[in-house]
């Protein structure tokens, strides 16, 4: 399992950030997530694997300075 915000989500081998968001109704909304404390941005969603027991925080919007 991984934790996404306050929810538990089943983990799958080879699961990427893109795959996680694709399974979510509003996944398109996110351009940045925090994966185990590290920021991951959309250009790297496809290539970033989520490890089991990970904590993913979805950053709602980047608002700038």
């Amino acid at each position: 399992m991984i934790r996404v915000g306050d929810k538990q989500v089943p983990w799958k081998e080879g699961m990427t950030v893109s795959a996680l968001l694709a399974d979510m109704r509003d996944g398109h909304f996110y351009a940045v997530v925090r994966l185990n404390g590290k920021l991951v941005s959309r250009p790297y969603f496809n290539s970033t694997l989520i490890p089991d027991n990970a904590e993913v925080i979805l950053i709602p919007m980047v608002a700038g300075g």
């Binding site: 915000g5 909304f29 351009a31 940045v32 920021l39 919007m61 980047v62 700038g64 300075g65």
Partner: protein, 713 residues
């Protein structure tokens, strides 16, 4: 207690008026030449139309100057104001001040907002705004003592030259037994010797037992203060509660403040963690999206960026509460304790550095090719201590570094300094030279617009190339975002009243990443609503960050998530609770529209504020060099073929870049047309008579300015 021997030049006693629904209902005018201290009443009409903050500043400045006033004329005023909600403890971001003056670098109206306690202390002392005019040689200090109800103009010899030591000394001297009662506005030698001086606004950090500061950085506001011979303005006030502002509806104010404060406290750790890392989270994000200014805005990413972002600074910041106003739960004003500079007058001594924030990191880091977090901290420290704007310093040094690498300038011009990108010691040396007014740093301190003239006239550099790569508009250096691939943000910078600063609009992600505004009309609508709403914060004494840097969990389900309408509604309730004037979100926009259009006409009065002044260097719109084009070749080729239907077979990069340039310059002009129309301006970018009438700013003097420019009804 610090030993100083002030000479009293003028003192008045006054009776502090009771604050009423967020207003003191008077302003303070100090004429340094005549040693006059005048209190001016605030009318209901002034509140209705100009609201407060920047609105009041502009109204005072308008009456202080003429159409011919230059920045260093005695009648130019430095105006500082809070706003009706300024000074509310507990409502996040309610401690802002805003400074307005005629800028040395743009020649037009400049505004710059800043944290720290000064604005609220000024208001609670009895003044919605202060304007300082005139000049006085010597070390002059203004002391506004709201507790003992007196105002003093003092001459104090023996003050430290730099703002870091000066802030501390004046805090100690004027505080009595409560240092948290003092806020100091000051600058340093860099402001005297350059045109890009900033102002430092302090608050006293009780836990760390030191005066700390934030900066009103943009457009040389510190240079104007220094030119007046004024070393500092000090405000003294006592404790602050929810009642201090005498809100019209305390119950509603308490409710909405608690809701907002709680939301930020709960959600910030799940979102950007600003209370822990400030704005440093933006560095890796901008880098990932190819938006981090690198090597004078040529590129948007660099492998070294991870060395200068949140992953590093989270360990360098001194942990603890870092709010620049009381009870602000965003608390993003972090600092580095016991930093030891390797250069300059503080070399080898432990200092506390307020910052760095994103802008300083990008400006004094990636944009000049420096990816060492400690050099950035040192640049930050000295810029503040010398009274220099870190954005203009960073963007200015980036420009000269590119000129150096292109051979437009050489070591013969730089005093032997190697100004290649990444040369951190040269960058620091230039900051020290700016402070002393000596060497090549003194030239850099004139700002990019003047440097372009000097380099062309005296060094024979190609003016056309410098026009393309010199990142200034209206005479103001760009703040630190890449606009090449976001037409909306090109408008956000190019059509901004004071010049390319992101406080009016930050639309890059909405435009480029989310593609929320594909048409010109949608971009124009965004370039109406966002600048107006963001302007409103500066009218009220508020910080923009709590609005959209922390958003409600259900925000994405709302019709317009980018506007964060739940928070906008809270702001409308907040305004009504303090002032007693019920307001809707649309009312907030209308308030700003009046002030925004007045400022545009003010610029027009001074000889600016037209279409020709809303121009951008080409680098803000697209790739100037072959290397830049090649770095994003896939994107640009696709744009030429798919968007513009061009057959690029057989065309080399130079030719493709020229064609792309024509398209992009044309689309920027079309954007201007769309924005002007949406804002109720004519094709020359001037508000129409109908617009000023609709907004209630059709004063005779405003109509006269429009008439001079052939704008008829």
């Amino acid at each position: 207690m610090t030993q100083l021997d002030p000479k009293e030049l003028k003192t008045i006693s006054y009776t502090r008026p009771p604050i009423d629904r967020g207003y003191a209902n008077q302003t303070l005018c100090i004429d340094l030449s005549r040693l006059d201290i005048t209190l001016k009443p605030v009318s209901e009409k002034m509140k209705d139309i100009f609201v407060g903050g920047k609105g009041f500043d502009l109204w005072l400045l308008w009456h202080a100057v003429t159409a011919k006033t230059k920045w260093n004329d005695p009648e130019n005023a430095v105006c500082i104001a809070s706003g009706p909600m300024g000074g509310t403890p507990g409502y996040p971001g309610s401690g802002k001040s805003i400074v307005t003056t005629i800028s040395p670098t743009t020649g037009s109206v400049m505004d710059s907002n800043v944290g720290g306690y000064f604005g609220p202390y000024l208001k609670f002392s009895g003044f919605d705004a202060v304007e300082v005019v005139g000049k006085r040689p010597g070390d002059t200090v203004i002391f506004i003592d709201g507790i003992d109800q007196k105002i003093e103009i003092l001459e104090i010899s023996g003050l430290p030259d730099d703002s870091y030591a000066l802030s501390t000394m004046l805090t100690d001297f004027f505080a009595g037994d409560k240092k948290q009662n003092i806020s100091v506005v000051s600058t340093g030698p860099g402001a005297r010797h350059t045109l890009i001086g900033c102002l430092n606004f302090t608050w006293y950090d009780v836990k760390r037992k030191r005066a700390r500061y934030k900066q009103a950085g943009r457009g040389g506001v510190g240079t104007v203060l220094a030119d007046k011979g004024l070393r500092a303005i000090v405000a003294r006030w006592d404790s602050v509660t929810m009642d201090t502002n005498k809100p019209a509806d305390k119950e509603t104010l308490t409710t909405v403040s608690k809701s907002y404060s709680r939301e930020i406290r709960d959600l910030d750790p799940k979102q950007n963690e600003m209370a822990r890392v400030g704005t440093t989270h933006l560095v890796p994000i901008m880098n990932d999206f190819d938006l981090l200014p690198t090597h004078n805005f040529r590129y948007g990413r660099h492998p070294g960026a991870n060395n200068i972002g949140r992953d590093v600074y989270q360990y360098l910041f001194d942990p603890g509460f870092d709010g620049c106003w009381r009870g602000c739960t965003v608390a993003c004003s972090h600092g580095v304790k016991d930093f030891v500079p390797m250069t300059g007058p503080y070399r080898g001594r432990k200092v506390f550095v307020d910052g760095p924030e994103y802008e300083t990191i990008a400006g004094c880091g990636s944009n000049i090719g420096v990816f060492d977090p400690f050099t950035i901290i040192e640049m930050n420290f000295y810029c503040d201590a010398y009274g220099l704007d870190t954005i203009s310093v960073g963007t200015g040094i980036a420009f000269v570094m590119e000129c150096f690498e292109m051979g437009l300038i050489t070591t013969a011009h730089t005093g032997g300094m190697d100004l290649s990108f990444g040369n951190r010691l040269s960058a620091l040396e230039m900051v020290h030279q700016m402070a002393s007014g000596k060497g090549f740093g003194a030239v850099v301190g004139q700002g990019i617009r003047r440097m372009k003239e000097i380099f062309a006239k005296e060094y024979g550099a190609d003016p056309a190339v410098m026009q393309d790569i010199g990142m200034e508009s209206k005479g103001l250096e760009f703040s630190e975002y890449m606009t090449k691939e976001s037409l909306a943000q090109q408008g956000g910078y190019g059509i901004a009243l004071k010049g390319p600063q992101h406080d009016e609009a930050w639309l890059i992600f909405l435009d480029m990443v989310y593609n929320y505004m594909p048409t010109f009309e949608q971009k124009a609508e965004a370039l109406h609503w966002f600048p107006m709403f963001r302007t409103w914060f500066g009218l009220c004494g508020l910080c923009k960050l709590p609005w959209n840097d922390i958003v409600p969990e259900n925000n994405k389900e709302t019709p317009e998530p980018a506007k964060v309408m739940k928070h906008v509604q809270w702001y409308a309730e907040y305004f009504g609770a303090v002032t007693g004037k019920k307001a809707t979100p649309d009312d907030l926009i209308r308030m700003s529209e009046a002030v925004y259009n007045f400022q545009r006409i003010f610029s027009l009065r001074l000889g600016y504020g037209r279409r020709e002044h809303d121009s951008l260097p080409y680098r803000a719109m697209g790739p100037v060099t072959v290397e830049e084009y090649e770095s994003r070749r896939e994107r640009y080729d696709k744009e030429l073929t798919e968007k513009h239907g061009l057959d690029i077979t057989g065309k080399d990069t130079t030719e493709k870049a020229m064609i792309l340039r024509r398209f992009r310059e044309q689309q920027y002009e079309e954007l201007k047309d769309a924005v002007y129309e949406r804002r109720g301006w004519n094709r020359d970018g001037i508000p129409t008579i109908e617009t000023v009438r609709r907004l209630g700013i059709d004063f005779p003097e405003v109509l006269a300015v429009l008439q001079e420019h052939a704008v008829g009804s």
